[in-house]
């Protein structure tokens, strides 16, 4: 079992590896190696410090940095109030680069399918997909019901195993009422005042 310093080191290694996996393109098609003769500077954001490029491009591979970062690192993020992620989602494949060249011209020349392809290369999800219901509430509800039921069963079991005072017994309560009536407790405003002794019933 990992412990202490080893756990921290393992977590950091796993984080870097996962980050590389998540940052790499989930696209079909060929991936151009980083040293190919593609002019990335044409499609990346202006004014990116060289230090940032040196730090992030080895992890990003062929993906462009297209904007300022939201947090402390240049990553892709699907978020409705952050519509411009810092990093393009897809890698620069030959097909995409051709489309991007065509995109610099009149957009009326782009077919709907090409526009969608360009969008999917830059973004992972549409706004509708980001905000689509996930059905997570069902999982939350069933866990809640399951655990609440367990707690309820336990309390009912406990309440039925401990001895209860006799005062909770209906028969005992009726005997108490009869005794109080016999003693004429509260003859003016109390219990006995609400009982009709002549007709042997409660007053209406």
């Amino acid at each position: 079992m990992l412990r202490g310093r080893n756990l921290v080191a393992f977590s950091r290694m796993a984080a870097i590896q996962q980050r590389a996996i998540c940052l790499s393109a989930a696209t079909k098609g060929s991936v151009i190696p980083a040293d190919a003769s593609i002019d990335l500077k044409t499609y990346e954001h202006d004014n990116i410090p060289q230090a940032v490029k040196d730090q992030y491009y080895p992890h990003l591979g062929n993906r462009d940095i297209v904007g300022p970062s939201y947090g402390t690192s240049y990553d892709y993020l699907d978020c409705p109030d952050l519509p411009m992620p810092a990093v393009r989602w897809g890698a620069n494949t030959p097909e995409v680069l051709q489309l991007r060249e065509k995109e610099t011209g009149d957009w009326k020349n782009l077919s709907l399918e090409e526009k969608k392809q360009l969008y999917r290369n830059s973004y992972r999800q549409t706004f509708a997909e980001i905000e689509a219901p996930t059905g997570e509430w069902k999982r939350i509800l069933y866990i809640f019901c399951y655990i609440t039921a367990a707690a309820t069963v336990y309390l009912i079991y406990y309440a039925n195993t401990v001895p209860r005072p006799s005062t909770l017994n209906k028969d005992h309560q009726q005997e108490m009422v009869a005794t109080m009536l016999m003693r004429n407790n509260g003859p003016i405003t109390g219990l006995a005042s609400k009982y009709d002794f002549e007709n042997n019933q409660w007053k209406k």
């Binding site: 202490g4 921290v8 393992f10 977590s11 950091r12 796993a14 984080a15 870097i16 996962q18 980050r19 998540c22 730090q55 970062s69 939201y70 947090g71 402390t72 690192s73 990553d75 993020l77 978020c79 409705p80 109030d81 952050l82 997570e136 999982r139 939350i140 509800l141 866990i143 809640f144 655990i147 609440t148 367990a150 707690a151 309820t152 336990y154 309390l155 406990y158 309440a159 401990v162 001895p163 209860r164 005072p165 005062t167 909770l168």
Partner: protein
């Protein structure tokens, strides 16, 4: 790290704010489990009328221990020691606290304190006085054995731990800042910790004095609180609550700071609405907290004008609190509220802390308090502001900063289920207590009239749901450690100083900053 070749150097002789913060977290989490167990025992006893589990003295002992453990060993260590130690140096961008070795002893005094408290339960008949430990019940007349002395010593040691930690935090806040970090630029959580530290440094010695006077009354034949020796029992009540009211603000102010951060990030905002009024509100609450103690003592026979004064000033202290609540709401307004567990906790905090505050306004009226003092209405009030205030805020802060400290993520859906369990559980537990109090059920009784049966059973049902929710929470923590869902990017804006890891990875390294940054405030 090279000098720490073994676990003894790292964990017993630690001078790292992160490691000491981790120690505080582990200790206070365990203490929280103990306090939860005590609360479950209390609610099981009260589930049905009659004595089922505990006799009178043992019940009083459990009630006392529940309060002391929750206040002094869960909320205070986790908020000040856990969150404070982890976050204050990171937020101020300094390598560590001002006095790292004193930081260490502040933590290690706590296990000693809790051991003394538990030891008190095993000697004679234990200390069944309530956490307010009023004489004559707590003096030699009510508790002649040594158990009460163990409790007094436990509180002394715990108080010393708090005072030393507070000196550390306050010094760090005042002197270990960058020149560019003006007081206005200091994050709100650090402001809250600083004001809390001030409250602790001023109020804790008052408790220490009262405890010492009680100790000498019990063992050295003084009569500070004995009318037979020209003393006054009410003197202890005054001394205790002069500490006790700042103490409750000590419990809640760090929560305010955490909620400010969580609400800001959870709403997608870069700044909390009205930071300067928020700072002023924190300062106002801290200062006004020292002059309202009489509202805990409306039934001792005070002068009517004194009661009128304390009622008035207690209502006035609601104003800065209202400023904070409305500022949080304004921070959320117009933002994109993220569907994160921490936002659930923070929103729950705002709503239920406000509800607890409303019942506090009812209790602030001296006339009404004559009827409601020492009833379950008071229990409902302070559990709304603590169980649904401090605890919700701690969960919110934990969800927010757990990935920072460990580099791991908690399961999102299961965390929301846990929130629902706690939300429903605490409300079912404490809402019926309002009706019990209004119907006249007194506090600290282990049996009650049958007429209170239904609401007590409901409250016990809610308590069982909370207990199972705590089991589920323990499972969530274990699952997070085992699943290793590693954090690779923090979805927080650059304005959050504590997330600015210079290495771009989490968890934070042992030393975040190897030296004080240039432009150090103190030089």
């Amino acid at each position: 790290m090279d000098s720490m070749k073994n676990w003894y150097d790292r964990w017993i002789c630690s001078t790292s704010h992160k490691d000491i913060g981790t120690l505080y977290f582990v200790f206070s989490y365990w203490a929280g489990l103990v306090g939860t167990a005590f609360s479950s025992i209390i609610r099981l006893e009260l589930a049905v009328p009659g004595e089922s589990l505990l006799d009178g003295q043992l019940y009083n002992l459990v009630v006392t221990a529940h309060a002391l453990v929750m206040i002094f060993f869960l909320v205070m260590p986790m908020m000040m020691g856990g969150f404070g130690n982890w976050l204050v140096p990171l937020m101020l961008k300094v390598p560590d606290m001002s006095f790292p070795r004193m930081n260490n002893i502040s933590f290690w005094l706590l296990p000693v304190s809790i051991l003394l408290l538990f030891a008190s339960a095993y000697v004679e008949s234990g200390a069944g006085t309530g956490w307010t430990i009023y004489p004559p019940l707590s003096s030699h007349m009510g508790h002649p054995g040594p158990a009460m002395d163990y409790v007094i010593l436990s509180l002394h040691v715990g108080g010393l731990s708090s005072i030393l930690a507070s000196i550390n935090f306050f010094t760090t806040f005042l002197s270990m800042r960058l020149k560019v970090t003006s007081l206005y630029r200091v994050p709100l959580f650090v402001w809250c910790i600083a004001v809390t530290s001030f409250l602790l440094v001023v109020a804790m010695p008052v408790l220490a004095g009262a405890l010492t006077m009680l100790l000498t009354d019990r063992n050295f034949n003084t009569s500070f609180f004995d009318p037979n020796g020209m003393g006054d029992t009410i003197l202890f009540v005054h001394l205790f609550w002069f500490f006790g009211h700042p103490e409750v603000y000590i419990l809640i102010l760090p929560a305010f700071g955490m909620i400010s951060h969580v609400i800001k990030v959870g709403s997608g905002k870069s700044y909390v609405f009205g930071k300067l009024p928020m700072i002023n509100a924190i300062l106002s609450i801290g200062i006004l907290g020292f002059i309202v103690w009489g509202h805990h003592m409306f039934t001792v026979g005070m002068n009517v004008d004194s009661r009128a004064y304390f009622s008035t000033i207690t209502l006035i202290i609601a104003i800065p609190t209202g400023v904070k609540v409305f500022s949080w709401l304004a921070t959320m307004a117009g933002g994109y509220i993220r569907n994160w567990p921490m936002v659930y906790w923070a929103t729950g905090f705002i709503f239920f802390f406000t509800m607890g505050g409303l019942t506090g306004v009812v209790l602030a009226s001296a006339s009404l308090d004559i009827l409601l003092h020492d009833t379950y209405y008071v229990v409902a009030h302070f559990h709304y502001v603590l169980s649904m205030g401090a605890i919700f805020a701690m969960f919110a802060g934990f969800h927010y900063w757990f990935p920072l400290a460990t580099g791991l993520g908690l399961h999102s859906s299961w965390s929301k289920a846990h929130f629902m369990l706690m939300f429903v559980g605490v409300n079912i537990t404490f809402f019926p207590m309002h009706f019990l109090g209004l119907a006249g059920m007194p506090r600290r009784i282990n049996d009650y009239s049958d007429v209170f049966h239904v609401f007590n059973f409901m409250a016990s049902w809610g308590s069982m749901i909370c207990l199972f929710a705590v089991y589920f929470w323990s499972f969530l923590l274990l699952e997070a450690m085992l699943s290793q869902r590693c954090l690779f990017r923090a979805c927080v804006p650059k304005t959050e100083a504590e997330w600015a890891s210079p290495y771009g990875a989490f968890p934070m390294r042992f030393h975040t900053w190897s030296q004080n940054p240039l432009g150090f405030q103190g030089y």
